[in-house]
């Protein structure tokens, strides 16, 4: 748990509720395809995936090159393994773009939201300024009034 005042990490945020409306909606309103895309991108882009892939490649090469193993399906120079790599790369590209497109869309929505918030904030700021200007005017009038009264009194005394 994050202590009071500190910024929660992404992991903590995912577990809890999102606060920003764009985050909320991007998470809550995702279609099945978008959910799968997010899962695929975060699955491929993880240390687990890299580790499992490395182990898989090592086993493949060891079985197909060491005398001890009798059943060999892809001997040196590992043409089928090459195909497997290519297939992986051929799918990684589109998944990368899929997740990138989704991020770009989120960026677009975020900016639209920012524009709206900024508009509201600017309106409020200008309202505050106007209100203070009104107040200054009123205070000035009070001061003038007071001075006039003092002047009249002083004249009477003299």
């Amino acid at each position: 748990m994050a202590s009071e005042g500190s910024v929660p990490t992404a992991r903590q945020r995912v577990a809890r509720q999102h606060k920003h409306p764009v985050n909320q909606l991007f998470h809550d309103e995702a279609t099945v395809g978008e959910r799968v895309a997010d899962k695929a991108a975060s699955g491929i882009g993880s240390w687990w995936f890299l580790a499992i892939q490395s182990v898989f490649i090592a086993i493949w090469i060891v079985i197909n090159s060491i005398e001890f193993f009798t059943h060999k399906w892809d001997v040196y120079p590992f043409i089928l393994l090459n195909l497997a790599f290519t297939i992986q790369a051929a799918f990684t590209g589109p998944v990368l773009l899929l997740s990138g497109n989704r991020q770009a869309q989120k960026d677009r929505l975020r900016l639209e939201h920012t524009a709206e918030v900024a508009e509201t904030a600017e309106k409020s700021t200008l309202e505050i300024l106007e209100e203070i200007e009104r107040n200054t005017e009123a205070t000035l009038k009070v001061l003038e009034h007071l001075k006039k009264r003092r002047g009249a009194k002083g004249g009477a005394q003299a």
Binding site: P21, V22, Q24, L25, E29, G33, D74, I79, L80, N82, L83, T86, I87, A89, A90, F91, T92, G93, P94, V95, L96, L97, L98, S99, G100, N101, A104, Q105, D107, R108, L109, L111, E112, A115, E116, V117, A118, T120, A121, E122, K123, S124, T125, E127, I128, L129, E131, I132, E133, R134, N135, T136, A138, T139, L140, V142, L143, L146, K147, R150
Partner: protein, 168 residues
């Protein structure tokens, strides 16, 4: 003196949520339509032909129909070259031509990913520049407000002095 009209603090309500959902769904179909934020306008509505093309290509390759079609074609290719009896096997096991075709795809997908990424980072750059401009503007407003409040305080202090000097 007329009472100043008090307004409730402006908040983004439920219809704002609906608006974002509407945008979320709409941008899939018609990208580059009526943006409010100037950076979005510049990025999508004022994009050049090559930028539009880059966006289109990234949108097509990075889509489920593309991935599904590619999978389907791969399965058909392998099927025809292993089990088909009515046509010649043009690329038998271990499918060297399929390998070349997929390598071709991957060779182009890489640069296209970078193309899309560069475009996104360019957008990020102008977003930050715009944010800096906006924050300058905000600071100007705040400075104005501060000056105004100081003026007000000065006047109030004058009133206080006048009142204190007044014989009770």
């Amino acid at each position: 003196m007329a009472q100043p009209a008090t307004k409730a603090p402006v908040s983004l309500g439920a219809d704002h949520k609906a608006l974002i959902v509407h945008r979320l769904r709409r941008v899939h179909r018609e990208p580059g339509a009526d943006h409010k934020h100037p950076v979005n306008q510049a990025h999508y509505e004022d994009s050049t032909l090559s930028e539009r093309l880059a966006d289109r290509v990234a949108a097509v390759i990075g889509s489920w129909p593309f991935i599904i079609a590619q999978s389907f074609l791969m399965v058909v290719w392998v099927y025809l070259n292993v089990w088909a009896i009515f046509i010649a096997h043009w690329d038998p096991y271990p499918f060297i031509l399929l390998n070349l075709v997929l390598s071709f795809q991957a060779t182009y997908a890489g640069p296209i990913v970078l193309l899309a990424g560069n475009r996104q980072s360019q957008k990020d750059r102008i977003t930050l520049e715009h944010a800096a401009d906006e924050s300058d503007k905000g600071e100007q407003h705040i400075t104005k407000i501060l000056v105004e409040i100081k003026k007000n305080t000065e006047l109030t202090l004058q009133i206080l002095r006048e009142l204190e000097a007044e014989p009770s």
